[in-house]
Subunit: 187 residues, 2 copies
Amino acid sequence: MKTASQRKKDPELVRRTLLDCAMRLALEHGPAGITVQAVAEASGVTKGGLFHHFPSKQALVEGLFADLVEKLDADIDAAIAEDPWPRGSFTRAYVRATFDDLPQGQGNPAAALYVSALAEPTVLRMWADWFTTRLARHRATDDAPILEIVRMAADGAWLAHLMREDGAAVPDAAGLRERLIAMTLTD
Amino acid sequence: MKTASQRKKDPELVRRTLLDCAMRLALEHGPAGITVQAVAEASGVTKGGLFHHFPSKQALVEGLFADLVEKLDADIDAAIAEDPWPRGSFTRAYVRATFDDLPQGQGNPAAALYVSALAEPTVLRMWADWFTTRLARHRATDDAPILEIVRMAADGAWLAHLMREDGAAVPDAAGLRERLIAMTLTD
DNA sequence: TGAAACATACCTTTTGGTCGGTATGTTGTG
DNA sequence: CACAACATACCGACCAAAAGGTATGTTTCA
């Protein structure tokens, strides 16, 4: 059986390319930058090709969102698994997942998450649902008000990162990260 | 001289109505909801009328942003004036301005600020400029890392508020507010 | 009366989306 | 193994609607 990369047509790769380009466009030009034309063109595919993979633009945005959430989920779970201290483990993982993606040159999944969510009201509700679900799961270890503040500060961090049009990282992001993590341990 | 409210035609009021409706639409349907057609219609004015007040859509969004920033500036300055303690006074004012607008039924200026900024890249830069300017002005009193964290947490607060499609307030927003303000004083 | 404050009508481009066709695979059958 | 039969992946042209914007009226106030 040939691997996907050896075949001439590789729909899985095209799909991923479409999602990647959609994310790039969202980060570069805001939510309005996600147009089927632009995404298809950037992916080297025609509009018809795009609509073969995603039945509508909303499905595309939802697919992008699902993709990013999946990655975020994996990152968080991995970070929790490595954390020996139960209390605040989810909050620390959330902070780590947010900041680790931050300085990467062109791709900031956490920021793209919000940008895509703001593009479609449907996705905004999906985002809210993910949050409440995940919070409920870790209520036993991450219910303290201080931890909530830390998580909100992490959100504010990539928001600040969004405002820098040049890819310049937030000054002393690493120090900020450590400080936030430390706040989850002094409880 | 008649006051504005007594005259039949009141361009100043129309202008404000346009900006208010633009904000409402941005909060309800995201950045994409702010179209000249929708804004004009919601304001009881035709497109031509809107283009009389704002030469372009970008000018409208920039006007909305300027309006919100002006209000935010006033709120912050007022809060600082009432604050007897210099250290962290700006951060406390920022927290207060953010949270006081939060539970209001339909208008959340802080959230609208970001939503409008995301609509046009130009406005995003204006937003960043305002932030750096304001930060530079209060560097003497609000430069501590803890204060930065508090401000970022405030940003995260209205972000959480954005996700609740129903106007329901964030649970225990008041408690959160007090806790954040307390954090600026334990330095 | 003349300038400001609007309305009406129209234009261009872009938007998301459809539809028929074609090339490329995959699968079943002798 | 070969070859039909089918399914998948994609292209290209077209479409109706909505987008932002303009040009020319008509009304209202000072």
